[in-house]
Symmetry: C2
Subunit: 147 residues, 2 copies
């Protein structure tokens, strides 16, 4: 790797981390939830009926199922989502909002959306936006083709 390559890589890593840290802090400060919690809530929000199975969320989020399972355990204890449990083992078969979770995500969609715009979208020139979009799409397609 040339020094120039290294510099680009380094800058990318650092910028990426600064941005996500900034946004995560804002979310915590303004809405009281983490980025991971936001991801789950917004995904649930976008599913018809605001109700989903664990596997549906896994699919939509692109997460590993164990990650989501742990996350749901935490979110349940924070009264953000509530599961329908079934069978003798009591595993989760359906996930939906609690009243609290619904209220949080409604606020967060606005507030966090503004933060994303302010820290990311608004800072991009049109050509930067186009480049980043095309890079992201081709990267997703390369590493995780077809879902």
């Amino acid at each position: 790797m040339t020094p120039d390559d290294w510099e680009l890589w380094n800058a990318w890593v650092r910028a990426q981390r600064l941005l996500t840290r900034e946004l995560d802090r804002g979310l915590q400060r303004d809405c009281g939830i983490s980025k991971a919690e936001f991801s789950v809530l917004v995904t649930l929000w976008r599913t018809p009926g605001h109700e989903a199975r664990v596997a549906d969320l896994v699919e939509a989020l692109g997460w590993e199922k164990s990650r989501l399972s742990h996350q749901l355990t935490r979110m349940e204890s924070r009264d953000l989502v509530t599961p329908t449990r079934s069978g003798p083992s009591g595993r989760r078969t359906g996930i939906s909002f609690t009243a609290h979770g619904r209220s949080i995500i409604q606020d967060a969609l606005v507030i966090h959306g503004n933060n994303i715009r302010r820290h990311f979208l608004d800072e991009l020139t049109p050509s930067q936006a186009a480049a980043i979009r095309s890079w992201a799409e081709q990267t997703i397609e390369r590493i995780e083709p077809a879902g």
Copy 2:
């Protein structure tokens, strides 16, 4: 946020996570270390004399000191770095490689460098590279001006 904005943001987040996960796995598989360990080792490698104080590494890495302290504890137990300890409290005053750590980073510089090139640099068109570089630089400057 428009649906288009949302899509861009989502794609960016997902691409970023896929890429870092892929690289972290490669590093683990090929070199037996994590991304965090690589960061510390390469930073130490780049300091003159291959010896640094904790605060120097904090500065060069842009990490919080507690993060580095925890990381050094783990890396010490994995025989990657060795501290000079001093005072009755035995705190670390200088960090340097173990023989093992030095050998690992020498290999990793080549192997991980190739992985970075393969998964990131080589995939970028010149205009994407320029856009990402300029975005990264302006983001760093905006969030963390002057260090």
